[in-house]
Structures are given as C-alpha cells and as structure tokens.
C-alpha cells in the first residue's frame, strides 16, 4: 500500500497513499466498518456501496444506516423503520455473500435497553416519565448513543461477519465518539448524586444538605418549577438503578470500536468545512486509539480533458468569441448564415475552464489534508452527474472506491 509514490517528487505536492478498499473488505478479520464525517458528504451512500461490494465479494454483510435518503432506502428494500435487518434483494450472491440492511429506530432501541435492564414495573415507570420521552425522541446525542448501542447488538448477534455502519449526521462529527461515554459520565455526575439524595434518604436528606445544596435546590426549583424537579428526580433515580448496566454497555461499545476488527473510514467532500471536520476526526481517532483505515474523498471533480488547462481553455473561448464579432474575421462553422458561430465550442471551453478551476481548488484542499496527514490512505470518488438511488448506482460507487489506479 505504501509504495514510493508517497515520497516528495521534485518539490511537487505529496501524493497520498492509496486506500485499498478490496483488501479491507476481503480481509475476514475486518468485522466492523464505521463511516463517519460531517453531514452531507455522502456517508450513507458510501456505507451502502461498501456493504454491497463486500456482499458481492462473499461477505455476510449488514448495513446499519441512520438517516438514508428515501429513494436510496427504497432501493435497498428499507420501506419501514422496524429496527430489524432486512435482506436486500437483487444482490449478486454467486460468491456466497449476502446483504442485509436496517434503519435505526432510535426510540425503540432506547426502549429496549430500558426493558432489558429494569424490572417490568420500573421499566413502565421510566417509559412513561416525561423526561425519558423527551430524551429518547430528541435528536441531540441520543441518536449517536443508540447507533452505537445497535452496532454493539448486531455485532453480538454474530449473524453477520461484516457490519457497515453509517454514523448520525451530528452537528459535529466528534459527538459520535463521545456518545458512548457521555451517558455514563452524566449518570456519574455530582448533580445526579444531589438529585437522587431526596428520593434515597427520604425526609432526613435535609441533614446532609449544606448551604450550597440548599441554594442549588432552591434555584433549580425557581428555574424549573417544583414539578419538573420532581419528575427529573424520579427519572434520575429510576435510571440510577440501571446505571451499572448503562455504563457497562457504553464501555463495551467503546472497547468494540477500539478492537482490531474495527476499521474507521472518514468520509469528506473536497470542501473546506468537510475536510476540516475530517482532520479533527482523524486526530481524535488517533487520540482515542481507534483504528483508522483511511479517508474517502467523495464527489471529486475530474475532467476527461484534463490536458487542456483552465487558462488555455478560457483563452480559446475568448478567441472564438472575438472571431464571432460581426466585423471579425469569422470562419463558418457550417451553421446557417447569421447564426452565432461556434456556440457549442465556446460553451464547452468555458465550462471546461470552470471545471478545471473547481478541480484545482479541490486538489489544493486535498493536498492540505495529505500534507497534514501523510500516512492516511485516501480513496477518491468522482462526482456523479446524478444522485445514486439504486443498487446499480451503488455498485458503480463501490467500483470507483476500489479502483484507485494511479
């Protein structure tokens, strides 16, 4: 993988190491692939394309997706959100592989954890609590946590030998790494201890409260109102009984992400914000000792006519436009009398110039990333003229991902 192409050549920018996607998905030791990155960069499509390719190369693959576009979901047979992996039809199974896909139902996943960790009465009490309902159906943080929880469940079920997961469109891609630990840390927090004191110690709790506690409780009552505080206390006390279970699960998932069978792929579009997020992510994964397999640079603009530079193309378009002026020299392009000449050529040249310019800017951004992270393998996927919404389209992306020829 790390051929001499990584070295600096005559002062030119460093070429990145190429990501060998097929080696990654053909390696039976790879059990989990996590696609992460900021929103709108094509994570879901990448995850689905990798899952499909792996299945068609003989793996028992399962794609766990969080928020797919409607038509992409339909193409994979995901019409209902039922939290169970469904077999995807139309997959080439000659090599003995198979593809399942599922869409995450955040609330149901959360409900299931509660039901698994509390006795029926207690579980019913928690499920009915307004705080629980707000928490389990809101998007911030919970989705990340539940995605990781579901990943842990699927891995544990051991029905698939490769799980490809697409991470939630977090406000910041980093939220997702924090999610497994966040709930545990929260439940361990001082505030929780305080809130649970009254319920645990009954009326005698006043004795243990110092002035600070009293002030805080009174302030909380002031801000939230007594009822809210009471609901919060009930909820927290209920959660507290399941605390051990929650924490264990969060830590288990975290360890799973660090395990050798896990590979992270950071997905980015060649745009400043997306690549900045990708850089943060790469550094963070490194700090957490999470195994990073590489970067997928999605929607790169290449030109089949790259040998004609933007500057020359633009100059040529201008030359033709000058010739088109009524008193210019003018050469008939075969069109009828007074029709503007070379319209097609001028348009093609102008458009080509713009595309080369865009490509150059993208190249520059990608080089920034490679310069900062020279060891990260990169796979580039050329921008497609139309959106992907069927298996054929996913197959094309899978092929592009795997063929990173020079």
């Amino acid at each position: 993988m790390s051929e001499p192409e990584t070295s600096v050549r005559h002062g030119r920018a460093m070429a990145p190491v190429k990501l060998d996607m097929d080696r990654l998905i053909d390696d039976r030791r790879t059990r989990i692939i996590v696609c992460c990155g900021s929103g709108g960069v094509g994570k879901t499509t990448a995850a689905a394309a990798i899952g499909l390719r792996a299945a068609e190369r003989g793996r028992q693959a399962c794609v766990l997706t969080v928020d797919p576009a409607r038509r992409l979901a339909q193409s994979m047979g995901l019409t209902s959100l039922d939290n169970t992996p469904r077999r995807v039809d139309g997959v080439e199974t000659a090599d003995g592989g198979s593809l399942h896909a599922m869409m995450l139902d955040m609330k149901r996943t959360f409900d299931e954890i509660v039901e698994a960790h509390a006795d029926p009465d207690r579980a019913a009490q928690i499920l009915a609590n307004p705080f629980y309902q707000s928490l389990s159906s809101s998007f911030a943080g919970t989705q990340e946590y539940m995605a990781m929880e579901k990943l842990g469940q699927l891995r544990h079920a051991d029905e698939w030998d490769l799980i490809v997961v697409d991470t939630p469109p977090s406000r910041s891609a980093l939220d997702f790494l924090d999610a497994p630990q966040r709930l545990g840390r929260f439940l361990d927090g001082r505030l929780i201890r305080l809130l649970t004191v009254p319920a645990k110690a009954g009326m005698s709790y006043m004795k243990v409260l110092n002035a600070g506690f009293a002030m805080m409780t009174s302030a909380l009552t002031k801000i939230l109102g007594a009822q809210v505080l009471k609901d919060a206390q009930t909820f927290v006390t209920a959660l507290d009984t399941m605390f051990g279970g929650f924490r264990e699960r969060a830590e288990g998932t975290y360890r799973l992400l660090q395990a050798p069978g896990t590979a992270f792929l950071v997905v980015a579009a060649p745009e400043p914000d997306a690549l900045r997020e990708a850089s943060y992510f790469v550094e963070r994964l490194d700090a957490e000792r999470m195994p990073l397999a590489g970067l997928i640079l999605n929607r790169v603009h290449l030109s089949p006519a790259g040998r004609l530079s933007a500057a020359r193309s633009l100059a040529a378009a201008e030359t033709l436009e000058m010739q088109d002026r009524p008193n210019g020299p003018g050469v008939s392009a075969g069109s009828s009398g007074s029709a503007p000449r070379y319209t097609i050529a001028v348009a093609a040249l102008r458009m080509h110039a713009e595309r080369m310019q865009l490509g150059k800017r993208e190249r520059r951004l990608a080089e920034h990333f490679t310069a900062a992270h020279p060891a990260i393998p990169v796979a580039e996927v050329v921008a497609q003229p139309e959106d992907v919404h069927d298996l054929a389209g996913l197959r094309v992306i899978g092929t592009l991902l795997s063929q990173q020829g020079s």
Binding site: F139, G141, P169, M216, I223, E386
Partner: protein
Amino acid sequence: MTTRDTDWDGVRLHVVTGKGGTGKTTVAAAMALALASAGRKVLLIEVEGRQGIARLFDCPPLPYAERKVAIGLGEQGAGQGGDVYALAVDPEGALLDYLDMFYNLRRTGKALTRLGVVDFATTIAPGLSDVLVTGKATEAARRRVNRRDDSHVYHAVVMDAPPTGRISRFLDVSTEVSGLAKMGPIKTHSDTVARVIRSPQTAVHFVTTLEEMPVQETLDGIAELHELTGDGIRAGGIFINMARPAILSRADLAAAASGSLDVTELALGLKAAGISDNHGLAADLMTELREHAQHVALQDREREELLTSGRPHYELPMIPEGIDLASLYQLAAALREQGAA
C-alpha cells in the same frame, strides 16, 4: 432608510436552516449583510458552537457577546450599510443570561454550571437547552433601545439554526417543554419565546442545493413544520444555493444530453481557436458537455419539485473560487436584487 419593499417586511427574526453541506451559514451571513442596509443594525446568531461565522468573516472566535463583524451591503443613493453584529449562543451562556435577566441570579447560575446543570439540561432534556438558545434570539429580536426610546435595537436578527432534520423540534419549544413542565417559570419563559416564534415576526428559511437529498429534506422540513405546529411557525423562503447556470440554450442542452450534438463542429471550433484536437480532445469536451447537460436537467427537475411547495424562492450562484468576504457581499447583492432582503 429605504422604503423599498421586500418579501419579508415585518419579519424581525429570520431563522435559516438547511441540510449539512448546502451552505446554510453562508446564506445566513449573506442575508444579514443584505438586511443591514443604510443605518440598520442586524444581529447574526450562531447556535451550534462551530464558529462558522468567525471563519466566514475572518475574525477571532466569537464569544458569548454581541460583536460587530462587518458593515452591511451599501445601497446606491442610501450610502454605506448598517452594522452587522454577531453572537455565538451556547446553552450555558444562555442559562446564565436567563438567570441574570429574570432572577438576578448570575452567581447562583455560575454555581449551577459548576455542578453540571447545563450538562444535565443538554443530556437529559435537550428541549430545555433549545428554549434557552431560542430564548436568547427572541430576546434580541424584541430588545428596545431603552425606556424612553422604544425603537428596536436590531432591525432584524438572523439565526444560523440547526439543520433541517432537527429544525421543527428546535423551534417548537412550547410543545417540547410543556411535556416536561406544565407550569412554573420555565414554562412561562417558553411560552414567551413561542409567542415570538409563532408570530408573523418570525420566518424559517430553507437553504438547499438542487440535488435530490437536500431538496427532499427541504420539502420534508416544510411539511414537518406545518404538521407539528399547524400554521404556527411560518415557513419563509427557499434559498437555492450553488446553482450552476446553464451555458447553452435548452435545445442545445437537450441535444448534448442525448449525445446528438455534432462533435465535428466542436472540433472545428477548437481548430479555429488554435487548439489541436489531439487524442480526441473534442470528444472529451463533448463528454463534459453531456455531463453538464445531465446536471442541468437534474437541477431543473429538482427546481420543479421545490416549486410545488409554493414558497418564494431565490437563487444564489455557485462561487467556483470558494467563499470569501467579497463573495458574501456578492451573494447579499443577489438576495437584495431578488427581493429577499
């Protein structure tokens, strides 16, 4: 001051949402520049802690304080634009602010923060922190100069809001909170916030590109807003960002898409411009032209789809060189020209 009519006269709080990657922050910033015409002060608010505004305006990270970041887009005959201020709101700062403003409890607030009350709110009841954040925006939109001068401090407030998938819940604060608090101060506060958000003074604008997923999310977002809040929260305009103009007539585009354009004509053009058609350059350029035509056709389909929502729409051009301060003013001018501000 100008008396020019815009599509959003009377709107004081512009909430700008959009799918990730569609340029929501850029459009919010351009909108703020466009609204800040002669003498008009505008506040641009960021709520997701990404410091996207500071990056756009090339200034140091924004604190929890209103800072001047730019001068609005000038206008012919009306001179230089007004001031654009910016503020990064985080739930913690908003909580302290709330305690200070309503209860004179700033010190207690700090103690609460140390105890992790904010963590508590964001983890256990995200609805509560949303109320605090939107509360800050509505407060700024309603703020008066002082007791004697009751004119508004800000002509308009523009909020770079959470993405489309989360916007309805984020704004529907009263429902979110009433599930938790049936009465009490937080309920009262959220009712006040909800009144502003549900008034004609607030409009929710959607930023999208002409691609399938963002368009679908935009339409879903508008529908969800309607579903969750009835006619309570008003969908504003649709801002089509990064639109690529068609460079050929419709007829030529159709021909390009179907591959029936004459490549020899293109080759002749290249020759006339002094470029030799080596290794089938003309054919390669024709391939590009076909891809462009397909792309334009896709854009047209998606635009049609957006128009079914019946919302006013505005188009902002793709800036191939990337967004800088100069291009923000260019986008602001485009918005003003089309009557968005």
